[in-house]
Amino acid sequence: MILEAAGVRFAYRDRPVVHDVNLRVDAGEMIAICGPNGAGKSTLLKLLSGYLEPQAGRIDCEGKDLRAWEPRALARRLAIAPQAVSFYFPFTVGQYVLLARHPHRGMSPFESEADLAAAHAALAQTGIAALAERSVLELSGGEKQRVVLAAALAQQPSILLLDEPTASLDLRHQAALMAVLGRPDRGCGVTVLLVTHDLNLAARWAPRLALMHDGRVVADGRPADILQADRLREIYGAVVEIGRRADGVTPYILPLEEAP
């Protein structure tokens, strides 16, 4: 097991956001974390990355408590692409992605050939090599999102945590991104956890889906088994129509109107 959350609880002041979450992730898995707004998905991702500390329970990476890891050593294994990253200074896209090599550089303030190669590969994988010399202050929403993802890839982690990576991407780029993440050979077996609102993308690309509601993981398994109309109605309070793709298994979901 590469990542394990056991009895994890977290509250902002006195407002509990994550209750007693248990999640076991094996190396090489790709898991989509879905759920309504405010279900605690992003907070769970921040806990799994070590940015927030659980107030109860523990999270282990490779069998060792996140808090016991040396920060740089952890950052070489685990990278997070946060939602809505803001840019403040005019780094070029290439510089921005290279900065993600920080945990690999050791004591050297300079980048090595390996760092450069990792940055080039990440830019190519996310299809933004042509933007390398552009200032990050001049990017569109979708370009920003791919730059943030490229930086996380350049960090060459074994676990990749992504918060809404497709939120501002158009159809073509959504599919391209999910294809990069969903490929079995993705960067030699990287484990991917992605928070997303898009149940269709999750169903199409993620072999495993964890559904969160009110700070708990209420269902965890194959998307085809989990995505059922009555469950979604209960959790989201929305009436949905569920269809099947030509394979007869993969569901796709269309929201109808509010539940009466």
Binding site: S49, F89, P90, V97
Partner: protein
């Protein structure tokens, strides 16, 4: 090659023009002034100041000033660049968090109370300014500290509030003072690079040597700490969560950066008064020229800030010589138009 890595060769090549600029300023700074001197003659008589006017002016009147200008300019530019990264706010500068108003309050209070005796070669006004700076730094940190990462918004809000508080107390002291005291206070606030030190003094007094040694050590220590934080500041300038995700100890880096930049600012304010403009504009000008990578930006800002303030002080001493203009007036007068030109160019290149 579309992605350019920072290599030692590129680092050195980017910094070289800034080092050259500083070297030129350092060479002509003490040679130029209201009185024309012969630097060669001054250097030849460097062990015999009493009997040679050139040497006396060069080593006693000008060189200490030029060195103080270099240190002050370097410290303010570096602290400004650091605060801009820490607060993720391009409008931040060394005085944003109230260091200068605390210092000015201390100085005004010392002038009002007429404190006289010197300690380790420094005037009481200097110590009072340093104490005022330290008080405001501690107060702002105490207001903004939290269990995890410090929120930049909270820090700025605390800093601005503390600034307003001290500004009000300064007004109160003004109100209670007579004209000559008020004039002294205002003159202090314009900034000045008049130095109490000269080689004669240093030869004579152990206390003066100790005081200068301490000030220099604190200055250099704070600046080395900041340049050493360049990597962490790069990451922090992208956001606390990004920095943490890349293995930066966010709390430690924030605290170290805040206190080292505050120490550099506090020393600069105590020794030379709140000289404005340098700490805001030099980091921006340098960023336009070399980009936002702090591994290059911070050392470049040190040399640019030092050279810039030496030249400003030279102008202040020379333009209306022998009458001196406060250097704080010159920094914005000379630097403003230059910066506007840079700003236009940067806008054209999309770097803003």
């Amino acid at each position: 090659m579309t992605v350019r890595a920072l290599t030692p060769a590129r680092w050195a090549a980017t910094l070289a023009p800034f080092v050259l600029f500083f070297a030129v300023a350092l060479t002509i700074g003490p040679a130029v002034g209201a009185v024309t001197i012969d630097p060669a003659a001054a250097w030849a008589h460097r062990h015999d100041l009493a009997n040679n006017l050139d040497a006396s002016i060069f080593f006693t009147a000008r060189l200490p000033r030029v060195l103080l200008a270099a240190l002050t300019g370097a410290a303010l530019a570096l602290a400004g660049a650091t605060f801009q990264a820490l607060l993720r706010n391009p409008l931040a500068e060394p005085f944003t968090l109230g260091v200068s108003s605390g210092g000015a309050f201390g100085a005004a209070l010392a002038i009002k109370l007429g404190l006289g005796a010197t300690l380790l070669g420094f005037s009481p006004v200097m110590f009072a300014a340093l104490a005022g700076s330290a008080a405001s730094v501690a107060l702002v940190y105490w207001l903004a500290r939290s269990r995890g990462a410090i929120s930049p918004t909270l820090l700025v809000l605390a800093g601005v509030t503390v600034s307003f508080f001290f500004a009000a107390e300064i007004l109160l002291i003004f109100y209670l003072s007579d004209y000559s005291e008020t004039h002294q206070m205002i003159r202090w606030m314009m900034g000045s690079l008049d130095v109490a030190f000269n080689p004669e003094m240093l030869r004579g007094s152990l206390a003066a040597r100790l005081g200068m040694g301490l000030a220099l050590a604190a200055y250099v220590g704070a600046m080395l700490t900041l340049v050493g934080l360049a990597d962490a500041l790069n990451q922090l300038s992208l956001g606390a969560e990004v920095a943490a995700g890349r293995g930066v100890n966010v709390r430690r880096a924030q605290r170290l950066g805040y206190f080292a930049a505050s120490l550099a600012t506090g020393l600069a304010v105590s020794l030379a008064g709140p000289i404005g403009f340098v700490g805001l504009i030099v980091p921006h000008a340098v960023r336009f020229l070399v980009g936002p990578d702090h591994r290059v930006l911070l050392p470049a800002a040190v040399f640019a800030g030092a050279g810039f303030l030496i030249l400003c002080d030279m102008a202040a001493r020379t333009f209306f010589g022998p009458v001196e203009i406060p250097v704080g007036v010159i920094t914005a007068t000379l630097g403003g138009p230059f910066f506007l030109l840079l700003l236009r160019r940067a806008k054209g290149q999309g770097a803003v």
